[in-house]
């Protein structure tokens, strides 16, 4: 029985996990290797000597804090704006019957189909004519193209699962809809809103295609900065990998807290539907 489990579970699972996780390990190891070992004649799988020089250089010489701040700013604003408008829309879709509801829901659903590169081009022209180009606002707007449809879809799913009876009871007690929503629905919905927010934040934090065209020196986000490091330096892998590790740490932390609820929401529609 034990041997069987090794072949049917542990060995294949281990192999896939090794494939999925090794790149992260390698990136981390690279970022803490001294330069002469990195470009030495033999490849070492754990550094003979540990150093944080690349991290110091990244923050000292290359002011990595600025792109981190820019990314944080854009991702935070995008998250709050998207959550606010999407929660309202999802509430409307799940709590009212009205003419044109199917059409409107369809509009949000099909939104995901437009290629980023299709929207990128006219958005660039539009941002330019509104003088928004190279401001964080231009990225917030651009990211709304994919965050709003996704969030409306997720939140509609979560809200559908909350029975109407909850608020109806509150409304019989004399509370109006808004108060019933804030007092009864919101506390139960909060974990789902947080999970959706985490997804929006991660997507905005990671985005590259829009960011590369819509930012300049002062407003550059992390992905663009990472890409630019290659251009400036030839290729300095210790710096690049250090930047990579710093980029992904906040993503991982948030993801771990929200993953359970997030997976639940993402899979709900397809499993039931």
């Amino acid at each position: 029985m034990r041997w069987k489990k090794i072949f049917s579970l542990y060995f294949p699972l281990g192999t896939i996990l090794l494939f999925l996780l090794f790149p992260f390990y390698w990136t981390f190891v690279t970022s803490i290797k001294p330069e002469d070992e990195l470009y030495g004649s033999t490849v070492t799988y754990w550094p003979k000597e540990l150093t944080l020089a690349s991290y110091q250089k990244l923050f000292g010489e290359f002011n990595f804090l600025l792109p981190m701040w820019n990314s944080f700013l854009v991702a935070t604003i995008t998250t709050f704006v998207t959550l606010f408008v999407s929660t309202l829309a999802a509430y409307s879709f799940t709590r009212y019957e009205f003419k044109g509801k199917g059409l409107l829901m369809g509009l949000f659903l099909t939104n995901n189909m437009f290629p980023n590169v299709l929207l990128l081009i006219p958005l660039f022209a539009i941002m330019r004519s509104f003088d928004l180009l190279y401001t964080p606002m231009s990225l917030v707007m651009a990211y709304a193209t994919f965050t709003i449809p996704f969030s409306v879809w997720m939140l509609t799913g979560y809200l559908k699962d909350l029975p109407n009876a909850l608020e109806e009871a509150a409304m019989i007690d004399g509370a109006n809809r808004a108060i019933a929503f804030i007092k009864v629905i919101l506390p139960v919905l909060t974990p789902s809103i947080v999970a959706t927010g985490v997804y929006i934040f991660i997507q905005s934090w990671n985005e590259y295609t829009f960011a590369v065209l819509f930012t300049n020196e002062a407003t550059r986000t992390i992905p663009v900065t990472l890409k630019n490091l290659i251009g400036q330096l030839g290729v300095q892998w210790d710096l690049l990998t250090a930047g990579g590790i710093i980029t992904i740490i906040p993503v991982c932390i948030m993801f771990f807290f929200a993953q359970k609820k997030l997976i639940e929401g993402m899979t709900a529609g397809s499993v039931k539907g």
Partner: protein, 290 residues
Amino acid sequence: MRRKKINLWPYLLVLPALLIVTFVVFIPVIEAIFMSFQSYDLRRPDKIAYLGFKNFAEMFSDPIFWLAFKNTIIWVVFGVGLQFLFGFILALLLNQSFRGRGMIRAVSLIPWATPGVLIGLMWKWIYDGNYGVLNDLLIKLGLIDQGITFLSQTSTAFGSVIVTIIWQGIPFFAIMILAGLQVISQEMYEAADIDGASKLQKLFHITIPSLKNVIIITILLRIIWVSNSVDIIHNMTGGGPSYSTQTLSVYIFNKATVLDLGYSSSMALFLMFMLAMVAVPYLKNAFKER
């Protein structure tokens, strides 16, 4: 008779989201259609003019466009196909019970949450011809004697970036399919056991049919995302060497970054129509069922 009063609230609640989406999606799509009929080149802003179908004619006689088209098909078929295969296997494994399953499920999802730029960088470094770890491993295993420059020769570059997109997409397939597996009722398997069905029979007659919906939706979503993805290829090869890794979206992006907006809009519209042809029949069905 008094007409029934229309309740405005549901519309008002949808309005903010709708306004933003109109401004950032619908108006740009219409604008893109206009641009595709113009010589809209921001390097020559004085020469913006109506062209009719000239951009489209140019596109269909552009050999680089056709190469990119072919590459997109290969990219999607192998990329999504193998993501699905390995994602399915991973889901079957994670559906078994063992200690630490929750933790492993969460950890195996990380590639999906990783920025495309970083994915490109990590794999470019793994594939590196001089100091890359993949070459070192292959040499140690005795499979090659000399480092291969995976990303700078046409014979290996495309395969290498496809491995990278597979790596990125396995987790998403795995969690979607895993969720589907967990709602299949155990009674069906028990009934099959009584009838003496083999493991493979159960897989093909119970598991896969029950997962039909999840599989279709997930494949559809991945086809859309993978064909639209720019950042991984752009950061690993930029579409080279000699266009061998350039998919349509990368070609469009490259044209857009040199500000040839008219031509890139035409190609982007073409890409959208291709995707719509794949997705619309399915969406129509899903809509009817609702």
